[in-house]
Amino acid sequence: MLEFIRFLLSAVLTLAGLFVLVSGVVGVFRFRYSMNRMHAAALGDTLGILCVLLGVMVAEGLTIATVKMLLVIITLWLTSPVASHLISRLEVTINDHLERHMNVVDKTAVAREKEGN
């Protein structure tokens, strides 16, 4: 019984992670602007990876491999949002027509970003 619950839990987690990853991929292909695409890509990098690896961890049980997977999750959660953040800053820096794609609230901040300070 316990074994079955464990299998079910891991299957549900893995499938949820796969669903998030697939929606992320669909978003990357369907969206037309880099900021929107970033949203979709970040989804897969954080929640998708988390769910899939959690599923695998549940199936594996408490071993050294599980700890390594936890480290993978931590590393990805540390690095992937920073990468997204840098991409968005780059977009603000180099795109001269931001207001065509989005609602620019603080124009002075954008100008400061372009100045490069």
């Binding site: 590393t75 540390l78 690095t79 920073v82 953040h85 840098l86 800053r89 780059l90 603000v92 820096t93 180099i94 970003e113 490069g116 300070n117």
Partner: protein, 339 residues
């Protein structure tokens, strides 16, 4: 530079090319003519006539410019309307054909491969048998791959590290911006440094904090992969790549002022040359003696210990340092032409 260019323009090959193209461009000729004419006309004619002539000349130049623009538009329109469609159709057909051709070739090749795991396969000859059976005893490395590439076939690995070093040298020759003779920065260097990251976000606080957290861990992990190359999977190449990536991340977060404190061109030279020379000398000694080393120092030791397997950990370290330096050098050279 200008002198050389002039010489080139006057040599026979460019002249032949110009003759082939039907002389210089129409616009250039006309402008030349106008210059000559107007200078003479100014001397001979009254101001009104001169003004009129100038106006005519201006009109002619405008006409010529318009002609050229029309021609360009014509070509451009064709490329945009018909040419693009044609290219796209051709491209998709060719892509599909190429794809299927490659699939066919690969599948055909696969069908000739011997079955997987068959003991009679040509791979399973006495060489790999020897490696697997006597590898640990002879080299002292638990990781058979490390024993192979750094002991049995160490000469091959020396060549590989030299390939990396030679690639770094070629990039240096092509991309390095030289300093002034007295060691100060040249004008080109200053320009490149001013333009460096002009279109990039700078001094990102978030990136800097994450880098402070990650770079020591990545460096330590790289070192671990290098030093454990003879015990677990890994080795100089992968560990060196990790360390190089950590250095590049640090550079991206904090800029050249911080990295120049510990990694300059001199450091690159010293580390690469020392590592490669150490590799070459130690392996040459090994080859010269026919693998009969000084048994007291270069000993297989206890397999599984950190300092075992004879020269392998040290050779791994040398390879790792070369790979690390080369990766970092590539990045900096492509970015600003110096380190």
């Amino acid at each position: 530079m200008a002198k050389i260019r002039e010489d080139y323009e006057n040599s026979w090959w460019p002249r032949f090319l110009r003759w082939l193209r039907g002389g210089s461009t129409r616009l250039d000729d006309q402008l030349q003519e106008e210059l000559v004419e107007s200078s003479e006309a100014h001397l001979l004619q009254s101001p009104e006539e001169a003004a009129q002539m100038e106006r005519q000349a201006e009109e002619r130049v405008q006409q010529a410019l318009q002609d050229e623009r029309n021609m360009y538009d014509h070509v451009h329109d064709w490329a945009r309307l018909k040419g693009a469609r044609l290219t796209r159709a051709l491209y998709s057909i060719l892509a599909v054909v190429t794809c299927f051709a490659i699939i066919y070739v690969l599948l055909r090749t696969t069908s000739f491969l011997p079955p997987f795991g068959d003991p009679d396969n040509p791979v399973n000859n006495e060489v790999s048998q020897r490696y697997i059976e006597a590898g640990m005893q002879e080299t002292g490395a638990v990781n058979i791959v490390a024993g192979m590439i750094l002991d049995y076939r160490a000469f091959d690995t020396l060549g590989e590290s030299n390939v990396l070093f030679i690639a770094a040298c070629s990039v240096l020759i092509l991309l390095r911006i030289s300093r002034e003779k007295d060691g100060s920065q040249s004008a080109e260097q200053l320009l490149v440094e001013a333009n460096d990251r002009m279109y990039e976000p700078k001094n990102d606080t978030i990136l800097q904090h994450i880098t402070k957290l990650l770079v020591p861990i990545v460096l330590l992990f790289g070192m671990y992969v290098i030093m454990n190359g003879h015990i677990s999977p890994g080795g100089g190449f992968s560990g060196g790549a990790l360390m190089g990536a950590a250095l590049i991340l640090y550079l991206n977060a904090f800029g050249f002022q911080k990295t120049e404190r510990f990694f300059t061109f001199r450091v690159f030279q010293t580390v690469s040359l020392c590592a490669l020379s150490f590799y070459a000398v130690s392996k040459a000694y090994s080859f010269f003696t026919g693998a009969n080393h000084l048994w007291s120092f270069i000993t297989p030791g206890t397999p599984g210990k950190l300092f075992s397997a004879g020269l392998i950990p040290y050779l791994n370290l040398a390879v790792g340092l070369v790979v690390c330096c080369t990766m970092y050098a590539f990045y900096t050279l492509f970015r600003k032409g110096d380190m």
